[in-house]
């Protein structure tokens, strides 16, 4: 290494890291993992670390990691201001996903980095630009004799069509500078291509049309290079689904199963030649298409940054990629670094696996209305799981259970009911249930070659799946169960529950039977070297394909913590923050921590966070297995829904759980018992009733009074709740449900209109509140709390109301003798608080309140659960406002209606601080990727009379702010009647002009407010699947990236904020400065 380089590196003392912002489809928690590891690596080297990341739920934005944290948008505008203020010596761009990378490129182009002498650490900027620019990328690799897909740059629809005709259909359309393949796709006809081009050209400056590699195998390598040109490939991975299905949508296997040594090492060699040519320093991911019949290859893309795949590779191998990449960015070399798993061998090596890893995406498409459920070149999944086993069969069946969707393995009874023609169709047009469809096809006698022809899934995998199907059939036909059959089934990953169901036995009986016969899973260690060297870390998985365990449990004082499982709608990085902090607190108190989780996109699954990490299923069976091995008490209240649902079952089986006891939890969560408790405490709750069947609900609804919130005991296309406004609507709904209406019971609650919703979060010890805080929602009741804007502290409620909420909360907590975390939700209607829900577990808002108040709620809760005595009681009153805003991923979900409802639909959250709630709100909103309106034009479509009434203040304010108002007829007339001038926009379905589409296409809209007709419209849409004008306008706004508000209160709040704060006036302050 040259002296100049060493000197340059020595100069670097202060480093700026860019995060990726909120969790969204295409950018999930994997960047919390990479950023957190990077910060640790930098701190080890004695650097001062500045972090810009508005994601308040992350571990990386916790105290004691970075020196200064800015909860600000990761955009050039804001980051430039941070640079101006902090004057860092270096910047890391590759740890915050595409968001950070794009921001860095823009800062570079604007000359900001040069102006302030900020060194880009790691991969040089030109390499980043060249990998992002498909044309340059292709040129550079072609120049060293490597193959990339043939293609050309397109700037207009006409060019695109012409090129496609010249190379022949189908063609692949790709977009440059876009995360997760937004806007890309395969077009088989010119009509289809035209549609894709029109949409893609609006968001991406660069479109490429390429030869279609559909059906080729998709293979990835993770490559590492240091500044001295030492290169390794840490891992390769193979997608089960062929090219054409985004790798984020694919089941992924590590290491590759179907490549020969020649193929494996040729691709590895190409990966290294590529990384050298590009000059990457740190880590990158390279994706290939490999022809299944010739072995020919194409390089699809290179990600010159940490990615979802690198997080997966890191967990799959035990090689801490992000940590190493950060060290390399500071000029360290690979041979200088140690393998942190063995503690003795070199970090310059390529992990040898002695197990198989399967990653599986988790989709939540059912949670949206109108959404297209097919999967393809765009990413739609919201999270993923990773399973580890000694056979592919065991691994894939484990992975399916890890999803937490109720599936026991590849066999799904519902899919098995489908006809062969329907299966054939679904195999050809894959959707999010593809693995079950493949298994059903095999079960119905379709052959492996036939399924291969329809799906392009390598026959190796299909044969393995066929073997599972065969065992399924054997089990189904078995009346007496032998140890041979059982142990064979366990080796293939069948659960006790499924074996029980197939053989007519109880899950518990199967468990007892196999335990008496010694059929138990063994604990194996991930050691990066396949047993060649001993490991000092305790990174474990369980498998049936082993006869001995690597791990002998000790009698130390230890506690096991159940993590949250995959990211999903409703379960995001906040629960990982909770789990990580729980484990950290255990360590502080000298208690050995055992972490159980299966989500590779997390920090909790880094093996150095806990004393023992079980990368395992969060199923009852597996948790009991771990209990049998470790005999440690469990904490189940910090990981959200999945562990929470396990709690009563574990308690019933005598597994010790720390925190509030199971009966207390039931008293809080059982509607009847909790209702009675509130009555005895004289605490108000909205009227409610439960009826045996939906059919009988009419009478009850009338008693309670419309509108009512309906919660059927089954799930209708993923939606468990809906608001019904009138008797007529209820009858329509009943008609729609048909026979089902008679079968299921339903809970109805009075829906309080216009009520203010609040979250009351706290920690209690034996019924005494130790700390608590009230956050107020901006949106009125009817919006799921996970989709709501939270303001801390409360900004509109009178002191007397706040006091009475606190009093009621104290009474509830006392009478339940709560020990641990709790969350109570209130509605305030006409000055009266009503309790709507009480949960005795860490809530989604725990990291938010902890950071806003600089008090670690979860650490305190853990201390309570550990039985620490004399914990301090504290009251907190923040001097500044913190506002949390949901992040939606509607753009990724074609067709989804972006309306906020009682069911949650956001994928993540961000927060920002300010001396004033509106300033904080504006910064938070901009952090979700929303543009500050670039022109004073607004489009209004206020559905129904309520919407108009609620919003007229907003319209007046906009008018006085000098905005030009555009409105559809009803709204237009209403505004005219108020004396507000505006321009008429025609309805879309009438075909007259100008309509909304015209305005959007001509870029005439600064932002839009499209309110649905209260609840009716969405409910109707859901029932009839018809498309209203409102829906089309909302959807169009999303597709054309126009800031849109579908809720009156948040729109009003936004307008107030806009009036008060021009973008330039938003303050650049770190959390540390606010908290001072």
């Amino acid at each position: 290494m040259d002296i100049y380089f060493t000197q340059k590196m020595n100069r670097i003392q202060k480093v700026l890291i860019l995060g990726s912002g909120a969790l969204k489809i295409g950018e999930a928690g994997e960047f919390d993992y990479s950023g957190t590891q990077a910060i640790k690596a930098l701190k080890e080297e004695g650097k001062t670390v500045i972090l810009v990341n508005p994601n308040i739920a992350t571990i990386q934005t916790s105290k004691d990691l970075a020196d200064q944290i800015y909860f600000l948008p990761v955009t050039a505008f804001f980051v430039a201001k941070v640079i101006e203020k902090e004057k860092p010596d270096g910047i890391l761009l590759s740890f915050g996903g595409q968001t950070a990378l794009n921001c860095g490129i823009e800062l570079y182009h604007q000359g900001i980095l040069e102006k302030y002498h900020v060194e880009i650490l790691g991969t040089p900027i030109q390499a980043i630009i060249d990998t992002e620019d498909r044309q340059k990328f292709s040129q550079r690799l072609t120049s060293i004799g490597l193959y990339t897909a043939k293609g050309t740059l397109i700037t207009s629809v006409a060019d695109g069509l012409a090129y496609a005709r010249s190379v022949g259909f189908p063609v692949m359309l790709r977009t440059g500078f876009a995360l997760g393949g937004t806007g890309s796709g395969i077009a088989k006809t010119s009509a289809a291509l035209r549609l894709l081009l029109e949409s893609a050209l609006t968001t991406s400056p660069q479109i490429i049309i390429e030869e279609c590699l559909y059906g080729w195998k998709e293979v990835e390598y993770e490559v590492v290079r240091d500044a001295s040109d030492n290169c390794i490939t840490v891992c390769n991975m193979e997608n089960l689904d062929p090219v054409g299905i985004h790798t984020g949508e694919s089941i992924v296997i590590a290491p590759s199963q179907t490549l020969t040594n020649d193929e494996y090492y040729q691709l590895r060699d190409i990966a290294i030649r590529t990384i050298r040519e590009l000059g990457i320093v740190g880590e990158c991911n390279i994706q290939y298409a490999v022809h299944p019949k010739t072995g020919d290859y194409r390089i699809i893309e290179v990600n010159a940054r940490l990615s979802r795949s690198s997080a997966l590779a890191s967990k799959a191998t035990g090689y801490p990629l992000a940590y190493v990449a950060a060290k390399l960015a500071l000029g360290k070399t690979l041979p200088e670094l140690k393998n942190s798993v063995t503690g003795s061998t070199s970090a310059f090596f390529e992990p040898a696996l002695d197990y198989v890893v399967v990653k599986m995406p988790r989709w939540d498409l059912d949670k949206y209305s109108n959404v297209d459920t097919t999967i393809g070149s765009e990413m739609k999944s919201v999270g993923e799981v990773m399973s580890i086993a000694r056979t592919f069969k065991e691994a894939i069946q484990k992975a399916i259970r890890m999803l937490g969707l109720g599936y026991e393995g590849i066999m799904d009874e519902d899919t098995l009911k489908e006809s062969i023609p329907s299966i054939r169709k679904r195999l050809k047009h894959p959707d999010s249930k593809r693995i079950f469809v493949v298994a059903a096809g095999l079960a119905k006698g379709m052959t492996v070659p036939e399924i291969y022809r329809l799906t392009g899934i390598d026959q190796w995998y299909l044969y393995s799946l066929a073997r599972i199907v065969q065992t399924y059939t054997v089990l189904k036909q078995t009346s007496s169960i032998s140890t041979d059959i059982l142990s064979d089934a366990k080796r293939q990953g069948f659960s006790d529950g499924q074996i029980g169901k197939l053989t007519g036995r109880k899950e518990a009986d199967i468990r007892t039977f196999r335990k008496t016969h010694g059929i138990v899973p063994r604990v194996l260690r991930i050691d990066t070297m396949a047993g060649e060297f001993p490991a000092i870390t305790n990174y474990f998985y369980l498998t049936y394909a082993a006869s001995a365990s690597d791990h002998v449990p000790t009698n130390e004082k230890k506690v096991a913590v159940l993590g949250a499982g995959p990211y999903a709608i409703g379960t995001s990085v906040e629960f990982d923050w909770c789990a990580v902090n729980t484990v950290a607190t255990l360590r502080v108190h000298g208690i050995k921590s055992i972490m159980v989780n299966c989500n590779p996109e997390t920090v909790s699954t880094d093996y150095d966070h806990s004393d023992y990490l079980y990368f395992e299923e969060l199923s009852l069976e597996r948790v009991l297995d771990i209990w049998d091995i470790e005999k440690a008490p469990f904490i189940v209240s910090v990981g959200g829904q999945i562990p929470n649902n396990l709690a009563p079952k574990l308690h019933a089986l005598g597994v010790p759980l720390l925190g509030s006891d199971a009966d207390t939890i039931l008293r809080a969560e059982d509607r009847y018992r909790f209702g009675r408790l509130l009555d005895t405490l004289f605490i108000a709750q909205p009227a409610w009733s439960e009826t045996r069947s939906l059919a009988q609900s009419l009478e009850q609804a009338n008693k309670i009074g419309f509108p009512v919130l309906l919660r059927p005991s089954f799930v209708l296309s993923g939606k468990a709740m809906l608001v019904i406004e009138s008797e007529k609507q209820l009858s329509q709904y009943l008609d729609h449900m048909g026979e089902n209406a008679k079968k299921y019971s339903v809970v109805m609650t009075k829906f309080l209109q216009g009520a203010t919703e609040c979250d009351f979060d706290g920690v209690a010890d034996n019924g005494k509140i130790l700390i608590s805080i009230l956050s107020e929602h901006v949106e009125k009741g009817g919006v799921h709390s996970g989709d709501a804007t939270l303001v801390l502290p409360s900004f509109t409620l009178e002191a007397s109301v706040q006091q009475s909420i606190a009093k009621q909360a104290a009474a509830i907590v006392k009478s339940l003798s709560v020990s641990g975390p709790f969350n109570i939700q209130f509605l305030v209607s006409e000055g009266t608080p009503y309790v709507i829900e009480c949960n005795l577990r860490a809530s989604r808002s725990f990291p938010f309140v902890s950071k806003a108040l600089d008090r670690n709620f979860i650490a305190l809760a853990t201390e309570v659960m550990l039985g620490k005595k004399n914990l301090p009681v504290s009251t907190v009153r923040p001097k500044f406002y913190t506002v949390k805003v949901p992040q939606f991923s509607f753009r990724r979900l074609r067709g989804a209606d972006p309306v906020l409802r009682v069911e949650m639909s956001s994928t993540g959250e961000v927060a920002a601080m300010g001396w004033d709630a509106r300033e904080a709100y504006l910064k938070a909103l901009l952090s979700t990727g929303m543009q500050y309106p670039n022109q004073k034009t607004v489009f209004l479509s206020l559905g129904g009379s309520t919407g108009k009434r609620v919003f007229d203040q907003g319209a007046k304010r906009l008018h006085s702010m000098g905005f030009t108002l555009h409105a559809t007829l009803g709204t237009y007339n209403y505004l005219k009647s108020l004396g507000i001038s505006c321009r008429l926009v025609e309805k879309l379905h009438e075909g007259k002009h100008p309509n909304y589409r015209d305005l959007v296409v001509d870029h005439k809209i600064g932002f839009a407010v499209v309110l649905p007709e209260r609840f009716t419209e969405t409910t109707k849409t859901e029932m009839s699947k018809g498309l209203s004008d409102g829906y089309l306008m909302r959807r169009m706004s999303i597709d054309w990236s126009i800031p849109i508000f579908t809720n009156a209160e948040s729109a009003l709040f936004f307008i107030e904020s806009l009036q008060k704060y021009p973008m330039e006036d938003l303050e650049i302050k770190s959390l540390e400065e606010y908290s001072k």
Binding site: N230, Q257, T260, N261, Y265, P335, S346, E350, D354
Partner: protein, 355 residues
């Protein structure tokens, strides 16, 4: 499924399921951490006399291709013409392989070559045992009793070396002529040499190279099985060649034989290096390479005589991985620059012999 046993010399008996040949075979139980390349590995003559444990749990995924000869006694897609390992020990043998080049399954190949396999073995536990206790002798057998056949580990090089002299001409000759001593040659080495453009004369391990020396520009000594000290004849020949100042390159066993020829010592490693991920560093340039390895013996770095320097070291355990005397154009590496299986990041080493 027929039961079969792996009986170890320390009395442990591991039960498994038979695949491949029904014969019983003895061998030294060693493990490889390679995740790919079982066709290359099993045909590597250096594995002669050994029962090979694969730490990767799924073996046989892509079956075996049809052997393709690119020249006389030179295959383009295997490392020799036979399976040389005595037996195969795996966690799962894959019964339903799939690959467009597949010609037969692993089980049928083993059967045809009369090599037994044992599956459903906890290969991780076995590997850890070898790691802790060192290499063990064992037998794959239908009975639960350990026995030993002395012939299995004696005269190994003599068994695997081809007793013929063959001339190989490259497609594009570069004018350099090499003599290649076959001590159990992996065909990959020969392919690598031919690819560069060398004209190669392959001779058996015990043949005196002297008559050919006037017509060659360098000598290569190949890999091979067993204890290097057994190859007294080859060591003596190398000594003579070195005296004549002929450029030399040794690979694996060839490296150890060079060391012995110049007066250094070799010793048996507790459990060897067998895998595709071994990190080696050039002592001088500090540049590091991932290498493919298969050896049970090593050169004692403390005994390297004057004039020679340590070229590479293993970054994991600090053992010697190569020696050189650049002035005299003598080089040798413990690892396999050619890969097959594994990485070939160091294949440039073969170019050093160019005139």
């Amino acid at each position: 499924m027929e039961k079969v046993y792996l009986c170890l010399e320390d009395g442990e008996v591991v039960e498994g399921v038979r695949f491949g040949s029904l014969r019983d075979r003895c061998g030294e139980v060693v493990f490889t951490t390679a995740m790919t390349g079982y066709p290359e590995g099993l045909t590597d003559p250096s594995f002669a006399g050994q029962l090979l444990v694969f730490t990767y749990p799924l073996i046989g995924n892509y079956g075996l291709p049809k052997p393709v000869f690119q020249a006389l006694h030179l295959l383009s897609n295997f490392e020799s013409e036979h399976i040389w390992a005595s037996g195969v020990i795996v966690s799962s043998d894959v019964e339903t392989p799939s690959h467009y080049q597949m010609h037969q399954t692993l089980a049928s190949w083993l059967e045809n070559q009369q090599i037994p396999g044992i599956a459903h073995v906890d290969t991780r536990a076995l590997t850890q045992k070898i790691r802790d206790k060192g290499v063990l002798r064992g037998v794959i057998s239908s009975s639960k009793k350990f026995y030993w056949d002395q012939n299995v580990t004696t005269q190994l090089v003599a068994k695997v070396s081809l007793p013929r002299v063959i001339d190989y001409v490259p497609d594009k000759p570069n004018g350099t002529r090499l003599l290649l001593i076959d001590c159990g040659l992996k065909h990959g080495i020969l392919r690598g040499l031919l690819h560069i453009g060398y004209t190669v004369k392959r001779i058996p391990w015990d043949m005196d190279p002297d008559p050919y020396l006037s017509n060659v520009d360098g000598l290569v000594c190949s890999n091979g099985p067993g204890d290097p000290k057994d190859c007294t004849k080859t060591i003596a020949h190398i000594k003579k060649v070195l005296e004549k100042n002929i450029p030399f390159l040794g690979v694996c066993l060839g490296h150890q034989l060079l060391a012995l020829a110049i007066g250094a010592d070799t010793y048996k490693l507790p459990y060897g290096h067998r895998g595709l991920n071994q990190p080696c560093q050039d002592v001088l340039t500090k540049k590091a390479y991932v290498t493919s390895q298969n050896h049970g013996y090593a050169v004692d770095r403390r005994t390297i005589p004057e004039g020679f320097v340590e070229w590479f070291i293993n970054l994991n355990d600090g053992t010697n991985e190569g020696i050189q005397n650049p002035k005299r154009r003598i080089w040798s590496t413990q690892f396999h620059p050619e890969g097959y299986p594994g990485p070939f990041d160091t294949k440039w080493i073969f170019t050093l012999l160019k005139k």
